[in-house]
Symmetry: C2
Subunit: 237 residues, 2 copies
């Protein structure tokens, strides 16, 4: 990691040279430490070593900075989900679960992005480009659901892919926002959020008629020791 002009502090002429980027970085730091509410425009400026008025050359106001972060967040999120989905390899169900885990991993490892994206209280409709980014990310989940729906067992009516996608999203978001971030501020659990979500998704998929032991499908098969794994939960009493 290295900015053009060394952290922005030290010697630095009248012009910063990289202020916009420095502000975004600072804001990310601050949000991850104190939440999107505690984040302060002035603090970010201070951290970048400029006067409190300087940021206004790059962002209309505080909200626009947060929206910019949310925007980037959705882009990284989309890329992460795309990678996790990996076009359904090695088999659809496995890939699908990987997407769920990626969702949680993002919420855990990038709490600042996640907060900006989902907990900043910005009206989504006010910002078309932001909403577009959000929809591109959701489209990954939706595409995965589409593929999964196509595999639905013949006996049953096909579940609408859009609905499945919304279900998965709500489960992921629910788990992430109730139990997701480790640091502070979350409830205690008898299991990890990842396990919780995995079980939830597996049960849900089973409810749709999918075989969830991962034997069928494209079977690239590194079967887990299929021992007594008869249900999607561990040995919890």
């Amino acid at each position: 990691m290295s900015w053009r002009k060394d952290q922005g502090r030290a010697e630095r002429g009248y012009h910063h040279g990289n202020l916009k980027e420095a502000l975004l970085q600072a804001a990310l730091d601050l949000i991850s430490k104190k939440g999107p509410a505690g984040f302060t425009f002035a603090d970010a400026a201070r951290m970048a070593g400029v006067s409190p008025a300087a940021p206004y050359r790059h962002f209309r106001d505080r909200d626009e900075l947060i929206a910019s972060i949310a925007q980037r967040g959705f882009e990284q999120f989309e890329s992460l989900l795309t990678q996790a989905w990996d076009d359904g390899r090695p088999d659809t169900v496995t890939a699908f679960e990987r997407v769920g885990k990626a969702y949680l991993a993002f919420a855990r490892e990038e709490p600042a992005f996640y907060s900006a994206m989902f907990e900043s209280g910005l009206p989504p409709d006010a910002n078309p480009t932001l909403m577009a980014a959000s929809e591109r990310a959701f489209a990954i989940i939706r595409a995965a659901a589409e593929r999964l729906a196509a595999l639905a067992p013949p006996g049953m009516p096909r579940p609408p892919a859009m609905m499945m996608a919304l279900h998965i999203w709500s489960m992921s978001h629910g788990v992430a926002s109730l139990f997701g971030r480790g640091d502070a501020a979350r409830r205690k659990l008898p299991m990890s959020p990842e396990e919780l979500l995995e079980a939830e998704v597996l049960i849900y998929l089973r409810g749709l008629g999918f075989a969830t032991d991962r034997r069928p499908g494209t079977g690239t098969a590194d079967e887990k020791p299929a021992g007594e794994r008869s249900g999607p939960w561990g040995k919890a009493k």
Copy 2:
């Protein structure tokens, strides 16, 4: 609705007489209008007709006011869920779904409470009595899950009730916080949040092996026209 001293405005001696209550009311109004972030201590004071310093006689600081609201929210929430659960009448599955709907109804009809409870960014561990209230509310869901788990079909291993409860909670919270509040600020959906959640829960329960057509059980039976209702979703394409 009528306070003791008429709105707090009008004629009113040096002492308000009911300030604490008036502040809580004002805060509820403000939060529901502008979100927990936009809410201002000074505004609440103004609305109650007192000086900006007066609230400090009743709340240590702004956060404590919000925590008080969250506290009340959890109490109302608990009461609502208890009522919806109605001790599992007329049958467990029906009552269970009613709890899900009550959850959403609360989020929709009491957005201020809901925000204070789940989106205020307060550390839950910092406030023991608040966490206790939250746990009492969750206990209702947990108790319902317990009863449901006991009914699990004999063929399969019993799902842990705690896990089921957490699953249901995460689904409800996910749907509520992504799509829950109608006014502003939410995404568009091909179906109502209520339908979305109902389908999600039904599919999930089916995944656990429950018959979800509501024919078995205590069968107090006001069967819906069981026509072509072969899956938990409507005619969505």
